[in-house]
């Protein structure tokens, strides 16, 4: 009897660890260990020159970081430009795609004909594989045969070089991203909206609040959690963007639309750049982690306020 209780206690203590062990091992192997390696490797420059494979790397302290921040260095130029682009890309996504998703959710939260069809249509881009969707957009943006320019020309405007003009490419990539994400974000807002009790609106209406006032003082505060969540994921998504660029001009011309993770991906192939790749990866991790952590803390605090 006692042995049975003891065994039961042991099982209760050990079992949880056994259960999380597979996940833990995978996370340690594929997330934590590589991240630690990245910190270490970012302090080294790989051997360069002939037969480099056999030579040890050189310890350079923070030189890799100095190089990627130096705008006369070949990697610095590319990193600084891509980092700036990534910030613009992330902000544009948060500031446009998130409100757009909310607006679509508000419109599609009312009873109307063909509601399912509308919702599906808006959500549909989120279901498409990104690389396929981006390839379709690359046709739309094509200079001579593209739909975008056909529309512009039919309105008597000159066509634009969407993927060739350095001032336009980033905008083109942002448009595709907004189109892709807004419908996805809508789903979260729709779920959030349907959690808000009808009675609250009825009470507000009785107090004389109009539609806009209801939105401002009722809907928005009650959607705060969803809003924060969606903003965080849209920001971190932006830092993970790779596929669109593969189909939409590979970050060019001259990195005018290049983003951080894609730049890292472009530079893995050559041993000489591994130090820079590690340094850039650390910067990427640091930004995403800071932002996620900041939002997490804010989010937690607002939870405790209630």
């Amino acid at each position: 009897m006692i042995a049975g209780a003891w065994r039961h206690r042991l099982t209760a203590r050990v079992l949880p660890y056994l259960l999380i062990a597979p996940t833990l091992v995978l996370v340690l192997m594929f997330n934590v260990l590589p991240a630690v390696n990245t910190v270490n490797d970012s302090l080294y420059k790989p051997a360069r020159g002939l037969n480099a494979a056999g030579k040890p790397p050189q310890f350079v302290r923070l030189q890799n970081f100095a190089d990627i921040l130096d705008d006369s260095h070949y990697m610095g130029q590319r990193f600084l430009r891509s980092f700036r682009n990534t910030l613009i890309f992330a902000l544009a996504t948060v500031l446009v795609a998130v409100p757009l998703g909310l607006l679509l959710a508000l419109l599609l939260n009312r009873p109307q004909q063909l509601l399912g069809v509308w919702r599906f249509a808006v959500f549909y881009p989120a279901l498409l594989p990104l690389i396929g969707a981006a390839s379709i957009w690359s046709f739309i943006f094509s200079d001579s045969i593209g739909l975008a320019n056909a529309v512009l020309r039919s309105l008597g405007q000159p066509g634009l070089n969407w993927l060739g003009d350095r001032n336009l490419v980033l905008l083109s990539v942002i448009i595709v991203n907004i189109w892709k994400q807004a419908g996805y974000f809508m789903i979260f807002f729709l779920a959030g909206l349907q959690n808000i009790a009808r009675e609250l609106y009825e009470a507000a209406a009785l107090d004389g609040a109009g539609g806009f006032q209801q939105f401002l003082w009722l809907t928005l505060p009650l959607l705060r959690r969803t809003l924060l969540f969606v903003s965080v994921i849209s920001f971190t998504f932006a830092f993970q963007t790779v596929e669109q660029l593969q189909a939409l001009g590979e970050g060019g011309p001259a990195d005018s639309a290049n983003l951080l993770l894609y730049l890292i991906f472009q530079n893995i192939a050559e041993r000489r750049n591994w130090g820079y790749v590690n340094a850039m990866t650390l910067v990427l991790i640091a930004v995403v982690l800071t932002f996620t952590l900041g939002n997490f803390l804010l989010f937690e605090r607002s939870e405790n306020d209630r």
């Binding site: 037969n51 260095h73 001579s144 003009d165 011309p253 005018s256 192939a269």
Partner: protein, 434 residues
């Protein structure tokens, strides 16, 4: 459900036994990695070659492995080798990948095999010299063997040229501009040169070569990116979209170019020979093909110049392979580069068969009689030069592409200054090798 799983398991076990048995009869298995850059059924073709090779060489099997694009193939091989894996025995990679892999010590020169074989000299000299330029190092050692090679060529809409009063294609860049301007209308570009979209260096090299100085020579530790010829060449390409007004500012995109040509929205285009078959079969007008007239007229009145492109056969050995394995590998390489296979490969895919005698071999001999357009690419090789390749190829190519794009899009108005800055960065990298 469980029954299905069991059945699958048993089947796959049986299958692996069969595969094991098939290999066990042979002494040597060659792992052959290949990319596909075109819409051809490369997997089917290579399986056919592998079967034929096995028939002719009992005791040796070839295991063809499709590894994606050129970039995927390079990255797959690098990842396997850097992680301590075996990697391929033979692979098709870009001809310009030579120094990336030679630097790492992963590949072994073909020269030793050529020296040891009967008739090695005749074998090597049968390849077109321009296609060997990227195979040979500064000391004249041959590392890789040409396999699926291409060059850019000029495609022109012969009907439009005839309408405008021209019965032959341009032979230098002054004529190129004159004809392009004559063909340009509100809804048609006179000339599209695909330098937009990430990889301007290849097309640009045509101009640099035709202006008189390639950006690369025999020594992989030297790059010539800020010579007067290199600067004049990029300024000319930029002017096509600005002052001369025969194409879009910043240049055309790679994929759009043949589509616009077939749709009659471009009178002439620069594009790869790899698209010859598709363009000939897709056009509802007479398609003319000619050498790239990219440079100013020389003494004979012409200004031709072109880089080569495409992939070569590389032999992987870090010194651990036995002589029997190496002999088998070399047999496979010579089989793929034999006139018979090159003639078949060229006719099936549209790549330029790499050796002279392949062009007298069927089915390529009759195909080129029927469609003389195929001969243009071959004959242009006399005006062709090395594709860009150096130590640190990928990084330096990135610098050159970025600089060309910033000049072509007008971001860097002063081409000379931008190219001087790029040359300084490139020299910084190459200093490790000098």
């Amino acid at each position: 459900m469980i029954a299905i799983c069991q059945r699958t398991l048993v089947l796959s076990l049986l299958l692996s036994l069969f595969i094991g048995a098939a290999y066990a009869q042979d002494d040597i298995v060659i792992d052959f990695y290949f990319p596909s850059a075109t819409a051809n059924d490369a997997e089917g073709i290579f399986q056919r070659y592998a079967d034929r090779f096995h028939e002719e060489n009992p005791g040796i099997s070839v295991n063809p492995v499709f590894t994606g694009s050129y970039t995927d193939t390079r990255n797959t091989i690098l990842t396997e080798l850097q992680g301590g894996g075996a990697g391929p025995d033979v692979a098709v990679m870009l001809s310009i990948d030579l120094y990336s892999f030679a630097e790492e010590g992963y590949i072994t020169p073909a020269q030793a095999f050529i020296d040891a074989m009967d008739g090695g000299e005749a074998y090597a000299s049968d390849f077109f010299p321009a296609l060997m330029a990227n195979s040979t190092d500064a000391d004249g050692n041959i590392w890789s063997i040409p396999f699926q090679r291409s060059t850019p060529i000029l495609y022109y809409n012969a009907d439009l040229l005839a309408e405008a009063g021209y019965d032959s294609p341009p032979t230098n860049n002054a004529e190129l501009v004159e004809i392009a301007q004559a063909l340009t209308t509100d809804d048609r570009h006179g000339l599209l040169v695909p330098v937009a979209g990430g990889f301007p260096i290849w097309m640009y090299q045509s101009f640099a070569i035709a202006f008189g100085h390639n950006i690369v020579g025999d020594d992989p530790a030297e790059v010539y990116f800020n010579t007067p010829e290199a600067v004049a060449a990029v300024e000319f390409v930029r002017s096509l979209g600005t002052d001369l007004g025969v194409g879009p500012a910043g240049g055309a995109a790679w994929g759009d170019t043949p589509v616009a040509f077939l749709a009659g929205q471009a009178g002439m285009i620069y594009h790869t020979t790899g698209n010859l078959t598709r363009i000939l079969s897709g056009a509802d007008f007479e398609v003319g093909v000619w050498y790239l007239p990219s440079g100013p007229a020389g003494e004979d009145g012409t200004g031709y110049g072109s880089p080569t492109g495409g992939g070569n056969l590389y032999i992987f050995d870090d010194g651990s392979k036995s002589q029997a394995e190496l002999d088998a590998i070399w047999k496979w390489v010579t089989f793929l580069s034999s006139p018979a296979i090159q003639a078949d490969w060229g006719a099936t895919t549209g790549y330029i068969a790499a050796n002279a005698s392949a062009w007298e071999t069927e089915p390529l001999a009759s195909l080129s009689m029927e469609h003389p357009q195929y001969l243009v690419a071959r004959d242009q090789l006399q005006h062709a030069d090395k594709e860009f390749s150096s130590y640190g190829t990928i990084t330096i190519q990135g610098i050159i592409n970025g600089t060309l794009e910033s000049i072509l899009t007008g971001e860097s108005a002063d081409a000379q200054a931008a190219m001087d800055a790029a040359q300084a960065q490139i020299d910084g990298i190459l200093a490790d090798y000098r």
